[in-house]
Structure formats: structure tokens, C-alpha cells
Amino acid sequence: MNTFTTEDALRSRWSPDAKPRAVRWLAGLGVIAAVLTVVLWFLASRLTGVGYVVGIIATVATLLGAVTFLGAAAVIQFSTLVGRLLFRLAFLIFLGGIGATIVIAWIPALLWPQKPLVVRDVLAVIGAVGFVSIFASFAIWWERKVAGRIQSRLGPMRVGGWHGWAQSMADGLKLFQKEDLMPGGGDVSLFRMAAYVAFVPALGLFIALPFSVAWVGRDLDVGLIFIVAMFGLGVIGVLLGGWASNNKWSMYGAMREACQVISYEIPLGFSLLVPIMIAGTLRLTTIGELQSGGFWTWLAFRNPCTLIAAITFLIATLASCKRAPFDLPEAESELVAGYMTEYSGFRWALFMFAEYAEMFAAGALAAILFFGAWHSPLPASWGAAWASGPLWQRALHGVVFSGPLWLIFKGIFFVYVQIWLRWTLPRIRLDQVMHACVQYMLPVTMVALLAQTFWELLVRDGSTLAFVANVLCTAVGVVAFIGIIRFVVYGLRHRRQLVGTLAIEHLPGS
């Protein structure tokens, strides 16, 4: 097969005489820095007190500089060798990066009791940034693979070897190098700022989003509304970006976004109120802990009202994450790319990162509120003895019963559902979006809310009615899950076939 190699990537970059010159300069700077390091070290060892500290810091800085310069020179000199080595080791580096991110994200949990709040917050933010970047690059690759499979293609296959796993990283490298184009006649400073205004709230979500009881940046008592507020703030970035682009398509995209997100915030809020009413709190960790007793205690399966609220919540988050069938703001077949039309390079990547971060947050929120949060389908009480045992038992408890991995898994599952819907459903018109919101979503969620109010008042927790409702709703959930699994198995078994043939020969009704 034709593979894209490092030689190909580097061939056009270096003119023949530029390369040796760059190597000479970098190596020279590296040698100078190394000599400086020795001199500074000599000086620092003579000094005492503050001078010693300053000397040591300067020594370390120059040492780092020397290593960087010499390393850069070596990389450029032996570029093909280094490139080949990197490609060999790339998958290991990728896995190591994911591992490091997870460790960084989990360090705060270890520091909790000591309460150095600033350190904790800094670590939480670093963990959130790491998680968002890794997740976004993974999800973009995955979305392209799923889209390919749904459309009877293979999707990205070249970069990195195994199923094009490094495609997102290659794209990221490309985006960093791209020119940062500014639209003529647009408001340049607003245009620059809009990408950050869209990205920061998407990151801010993760400060209050708990991955488990202990693994949360800030366990706010208003965590749920904080996250909803952050979802709402992201709109402003899109609006400003669309306006500042001085482009009709961008403008239309921004308008549609504002329209759609504001309208769908109302059914979103109403469906959020249902679990809040059951839990009696806005603290997400408490709502999650309510559902620790196995999958039949998950809030979605509690009674019909919560089941309806779970479904309307998922639909409303589709609209607020601008995913199909509600992807009107970027509608690529009519508006080029909607509000992102004029963006390129890094700022465009920021918008994409914000979108995928919001998708994961929406999925995780759905899991926390309705689908058992960070608990596995097994009741947590079965593993109570493991929860306080030696380290290996606690680790096993985290994998089998409840832990951040389960929340990440559920979040990724809901992201998969969003991807799957996007490539299956057609886009609906704006008036249909509004009509669906005001005429269907709003009444349905209001009825669910009202019914839940009366349910709370009239039906006691241990009564027969509550039990029957619980069993029926759980049965609906289990049947739906088995259905999804059956489709997955069917798809896996027929993965080598083209969709057309598949539809003709195998699907029911052919």
C-alpha cells in the first residue's frame, strides 16, 4: 500500500542549502549554551544565599536551552532517521500521552485532603485541557471513521498505519502551521477573540463536571446550573465570530445558532428539573450517588416521566451542541461552513475543540443525571468490601463497580450516538427546528415536569405503583440496549459488505 512517509513530509520544506545552515546555527547555539552552563555552574557553586538560587536557576535554564538546540540540530540533521523512529514508536507515544493525561487528571483526587486550593485548581485545569485535547483529536478521527462506515467507505486509512489513527494529529500539525487568515472588512480584533470566547466556556464546563465522587475540579452546590450557564455562554463566541467575519454565510450561521440554542435551552431546563426534583439538590455528585444501586435504580428508569425527560434531554443537547439534525449553524451544504466559514488554522481548531468538548460534556451530563453516573450496572453495595481494601482491590473496584472510567465510557457512548445520528438523519429546516421545539419538545417536557411533580406528591417510594413503573421503564431501557447491541453485532458481521448489497439482501423488508 502507498504510505505517506516522513521523507514525503520533509521533502518540500527544506531548500538544499537551508538545511545545513540551520543545523550549523542550532549546533553552534547549543555549544555556546553548553559552555555557558558550565561557567554558570562554576559561578553558582561559589555563591551563597539568593545568588546561589539564581545561579542554579540560570544554570538549569541554559542547560535546557543547550539540550533543546542540540536536539533540534540532531533532529534536522538526521530527520529521516528520527522520523522513521518516531513513526515506529508513535503508537507507544500516543498511548503514553493518554496515560500521562489520565495521571495528570487524576492527581487532584490524591491532593484533595491537603486542600492547597490553588494547586488543586491549576491541576484540574491542566487535566481538563489535556483531556479535552486528547478526546477531541480522538473523537474527530472516530467521527470520520464512523461516517465512512455509514457511507460505505473506509474513512482515513493512511496516517500512522493502523486504520489511520494518527490522522487527527497530522491534521493538528497542519492546522498549527496554516496561515491565520483575516477577513477583509471584518472586525479583526473581535474575529480573533471570538474563537477564545467560544472555547473557554467549553473548557470551563470541566471544572464542575464530576468524573466520580472524588474526581471533580470543584464540587459546586450549583454544579448543574453552572454547566448549563457554560453551555449558554459558548453561543456568544459563535455569534461574535459570525458577525466579525463580515460574511453573509457566517452571519446566517450565527443567527441560526442563537435562535436555536436560546429556544432549546427551555426544554433542556425543563428536562433537567425532573432529576433535580427527585434528588432535591443541584450538586452533581449527590445526584450521581443516588443511582449507585444497579441499573434499575438509574434515574431514567425510575418512572415514565424520567424516561421521557431523559429522551428530551438527549434531543435538546443535540440542538445545543449544534449536531445533526440540528446542525443548521454550520450547514455545510448551504452555508459553506456557517459561522466558521472565514476561520482557518488554529482558531478553526479551537471551534472544533469546543464542539467536541461540549459533545462529551453533554453525554457525560446525560449519564450523570439519568444513566447511573460513574456506576457500572452492578449495584455498588456488592463491591463495598473492595472499596476500602488494598490498592489492587480498590483499582478493581474502580473498573468493575464505580469509577471515572465508567463515566468516560458512558460519555463516549453518548458521543457515539450523536455521531451516529449525525450521519444517519437529514438536516431539518430552521422553521422545522423551531416548530419542533415550541410545538412538541416544550409541551412534552412541561407535561413530564408536571407529572413528575404529582408523582413525587402521590406515589410513595416503596409502593406497588412505583415498583411496577420502575420495572416497566427498566424493561424498555434493557430492550433498547439489546436492540443497539444487536445492530452493532449485525454491522460487525457484515462489515465487509457494501451498504447497497446489504440493504438488498439482508435488511428486513427487502
Binding site: 459546586l220 452546590d221 446550573i225 448549563v228 450557564a229 449558554g232 453561543v235 456568544i236 458577525w243 452571519m251
Partner: protein, 173 residues
């Protein structure tokens, strides 16, 4: 100076700076962005004072809701090139007089009030507690506000109606 004091002065600077920017900006959309900065900084000040609920409500109602409606309205009504807002001299003088009066009043209040010494750490108000208070002690003001909101909604629906009784539009359909 403690970390909290540093954070306070930074946020206060951000709030005041954005408010000034909002007044002096010429572009109406830039004004909206400055307003976002000011509202966000005030929300962060609330968070700093452990008033989490107030901060979140500030973000969701003003920054997330009202501001989006304002920007949306501006985009719908003004042309893309943007309207340059230049206040007339008389308007500037009138505004300055009102602002100076307000400043004098606020400074007087600040100087005259005997401020109680701050407690060691501010009491974090629980949301449940807040809800209970709203629906028991402060029920009457709470309900009055809801009546006001209803009146505003009806007024908005009335204003949004086309001229006449809207019959022409309905007939067209």
C-alpha cells in the same frame, strides 16, 4: 496582600475596565463584548465571595441570556458594516451630570456607612436554604416578581403583533 485581595483587585480592574470600554466603544457589537467582560467579572466577584448561586445566575441570566438577545437584536437591526455611535455634545454633558450625581451619592453612602468587621470566612449559602427562604419568608415579593414577569411577557407578545389585529397576516396564510 492575600491571594483573595489580589484576585479581588484583578477582577475589579477587569469589571471597571470593561465597563469603561462599554461606554467608550463606538461599535455596538464591541460594546456587547465589553458588557460580557463586565458581567462576567462581576459574576467572578460573586464566586470569590462564595455566593455561588448568585454568580451562576448572573452568568446564565445576564451573560448567557440577556446579552445573547441584545447581540441578536443588534445583528438583526443594524447592517453588517456596523453603526458608529457618536453621542452629541448635549447628550455627553447630560450623561456626565447624571453619572457625577450617582458617583456623589454612592461615595456618600460608602463613607457614611459603618461597615461591620468581616468574619473570618464568609458563610456559604446553601441553595436549598435559599429556596426555602424564597418560598416561605419572601413569598410575597417572589410572587410579585412572577406577576411582573407575566406582565412583561404579555406586553412583549402584544408588541410583537403586527399592526392592526394581525388579521391581514393570518388571511395571507
Amino acid at each position: 496582600m492575600s491571594g483573595e485581595a489580589v484576585a479581588f483587585y484583578l477582577l475589579a480592574l477587569l469589571a471597571a475596565g470593561s465597563a469603561l470600554g462599554c461606554v467608550f466603544a463606538r461599535h455596538i457589537v464591541r460594546m456587547a463584548l465589553c458588557l460580557l467582560g463586565a458581567l462576567g467579572a462581576v459574576a467572578l466577584l460573586y464566586f470569590l465571595m462564595a455566593a455561588n448561586f448568585l454568580g451562576v445566575v448572573q452568568l446564565i441570566v445576564y451573560a448567557g441570556g440577556t446579552l445573547v438577545v441584545i447581540v441578536f437584536g443588534v445583528m438583526l437591526t443594524s447592517r453588517t458594516a456596523g453603526v458608529q455611535l457618536r453621542p452629541k455634545l448635549i447628550e455627553a454633558i447630560g450623561g456626565a451630570i447624571v453619572c457625577l450625581g450617582l458617583l456623589a451619592g454612592l461615595v456618600t453612602i460608602l463613607v457614611r456607612t459603618a461597615w461591620p468587621a468581616a468574619k473570618a470566612s464568609p458563610q456559604a449559602y446553601d441553595v436549598a436554604q435559599l429556596g426555602n427562604e424564597l418560598l416561605s419568608t419572601y413569598l410575597v415579593p417572589f410572587e410579585l416578581v412572577s406577576v411582573l414577569l407575566l406582565a412583561v411577557m404579555i406586553g412583549a407578545a402584544y408588541l410583537a403583533q403586527p399592526e392592526g389585529d394581525g388579521k391581514a397576516i393570518r388571511d395571507k396564510r
